[in-house]
Amino acid sequence: MTHIYAVTPSMRCGYFAAACLLALALTPVGAAERITAEEYQAKAALIYKFAKFVNWPADRLEGAKSPFIIAVLGKIPIRDSLKALAGKRIDGRSVEIRAYPDMSYFEPCHVLFCSLGDMQRFSQAQIRLLADEHVLTVGDVHGFANAGGILSLTFVDDHLAFRVNIAAAQRAGLVIDSNVLRLAIEVIDDSQ
């Protein structure tokens, strides 16, 4: 018995055509012309490149053979992508990746990737500690730089972009190359 759910060959062709149209409709404009990369892989590369344009005070760069430490606070998805930076060199130092479950495990490092929630929960003493240890704090949640973080990664359309809290960088004694600041979508000065 035939009923409304029967599928004829012409309907099957229709389904196929619909599938093709759906695939075309979901194609972003110009996608074929562009290079693509996964988010955390690209963010890890951006952090690596950014760090090369930051000058740390001499006391943070003690010993030419000491490692350049990039740490992750808590369970953040970028952790695995950052591991790919291990062994690369920044300012002649070998990059070492560390993971701190929480701030009680904190040890001095050059870069600390943390969540907005962590940034907001830091006590005044912890904020002072990070500044005193000249730590470049990095996050990828909206509002991170406004909450006192130094480098906030974000998106403009399908591209990575970043905001810099220049006052927070100065409080940590970090000098960021002006050529890099020009690439920022926003330079925040919360010192006033």
Partner: protein, 369 residues
Amino acid sequence: MICNLNSLKSFLFVLFSSICGLSALYGQSPPSDLTELSLEQILGIRIIKQSHGDDVDDAPSQNRKWSAGYRRIHIKFSGQRDGTRNVSSNEVLWNGNAAERTDDNFPILTQEIDQEAHIIELATAVTERLSLNVLIPYIVQATKHKSIVSDFERFTIRSEGLGDVSAFFSYMFRETGTHYLKLNGGISLPTGAINEADDTPAPGSSNQLPYTMQLGSGTVDLSPGVTYWRKGGLVDIGAQLLGTIRLGRNYRGYSLGDRLSVSAWLQTELREWLHPSIKIAAQFWDRIDGIDEDFKHFEHGFFPAAVADPDKFGGEKVNALVGVKLIAPQRNLANHSIEIEGGVPIYQSLNGPQPKEAWRINASWHWKF
């Protein structure tokens, strides 16, 4: 049955073709080591976004500890189905000739049912992995009938009120940055009335309405489930298994059938604010166990309508749905999202004759704060 299987196969073929099409059109290899690129080049790469864990679904997170939402579900039933066969009104509506009365024809025929649920959703993140949700539904229902009873040739019954309030937990069992597995568990409390009454062809002006028109199950129900997401590619893939287990019978002497729902979906990000999706959802549910006390006298005779007969419930159904999720990009509206999804059944095998689903639409708004 073969026709229906073909229909299901064809739908799966559409899904597969779509995935293949998307993969072919999107496929672009990233450089092997992005650190070899300049900062400007990295900023110029088109990024395949990966989930932050917070964004797996509308659940709140440690950054946004609360979420509130409103959901409206409208399901329309029209016509009758017995097994996988559509049956006409003439087949189901008894003509009054005693010799032709059977278990499958009735003096009252359900023509259309409109079921609407307005649901308030509240959720909070208890820990990084655990969130709790409370759902408060308000139900509005109407059923149009045709009958051979004089003065009731055509009539509509209505019911409206609080449904069964439920509480759920959702626990992120495993997450890798691209793969997420959540365990869900819920309990539904019998806050919805099961003694809704209206004017029907039965003697009196206020009669117990059939099971389909009651506002709740009348029982404490458990809802275990598991949800899987694969995010991070150009197309997110998800699947969910959800059960409803009725604990005992309600005070009117019956329990609605246990239910199992299985769904799978694909969702992509066309723009940062625009996330279209396609889904197939299968449901399997049992007959009613027991009988409402007001319908007990029909038990060894003939029921006046299919919706009063506990054996004319249960079945299997597969729905195909398309949807779109809109995420507000503006700063003032950040963390607000709207989702609209609609679909039709592509397969229904019902213990009938039973009202068959015609379509469903589901719209929701969520806010994380």
